[in-house]
Amino acid sequence: MLPTLRPGDLVLSRRPWRRRLPPLGRLVVVRDPDGSGRVLVKRVVALGARGFSVGSDAPDHARDSRRFGELAPSALLGLVVAVWPRPGSRG
């Protein structure tokens, strides 16, 4: 998610309203659909009839909807409300 987020940055998110799709362009916290239980921070890049697609700000080496397709609303864990850059990470 460079340059928006850098390794070690703190992200504050709030729980979404149940089953509601996130707003376009919003940074979101989602559950990786690969079943690993991993949590991802991504940007909402498209809204569909039944789900939403997420993309990355640094798309060259990222895992997002181009790899795993549209996400169901149930995969949405949080909407990012604040980013606190890791001290010293912005030179």
Partner: protein
């Protein structure tokens, strides 16, 4: 002061990944090989079962119980094999691999179909073909890593 607060929060915050592909990066066709072997083993055991003599209720119950267990395990292991293959296909293999192995998609598609066939049928031939398909995938997989890993079966 703020920096210390940051550190304190960072220690407690759950980790979210912003990019990266499967951070473990551990893939191995051995998982599909093991479950595939279980499918073949169960298929053979089902084919080798002999129905009891008519009228022997206890033997009949034991026979049905054993048969049901074999079928359930075959079904479960075939699905696991399909899952393992799909993970390799969709997560491990990348477009450059496809350039080098143009029949990659066809190989996985047929292997996945064989998993289904092994569920639907009790076919020793399809169970053997499934193992051949997994062996082929094993060969391609380790070749992409530049490693020579021998194909070894658990079943003797």
């Amino acid at each position: 002061m703020l920096s210390r607060l940051f550190d304190a929060l960072a220690k407690r915050a759950p980790l979210a990944h912003a990019h990266c592909d499967g951070p473990c990066g551990i893939y191995d066709p051995a998982s599909a090989r093991i479950t595939g072997e279980a499918v073949r083993s169960m298929t053979k055991k089902i084919l080798a079962l002999t129905p009891p003599a008519p009228g022997d209720a206890a033997a009949n119950a034991a026979y049905l119980n054993t048969l049901s267990r074999y079928v359930a395990i075959k079904e479960e292991q075939a699905q696991l094999t399909k899952d393992e293959l799909l993970v390799l296909w969709t997560d491990y293999f990348k477009p450059p691999h496809l350039e080098k192995y143009p029949d990659l998609h066809d190989t996985f598609w047929k292997a996945a179909k064989l998993c289904s066939a092994c569920k639907v049928e009790v076919s020793a031939q399809h169970a053997d073909e499934l193992m051949e398909a997994i062996e082929k995938i094993h060969g391609i997989f380790w070749a992409t890593k530049g490693r020579d890993v021998p194909w070894t079966l658990a079943a003797g």
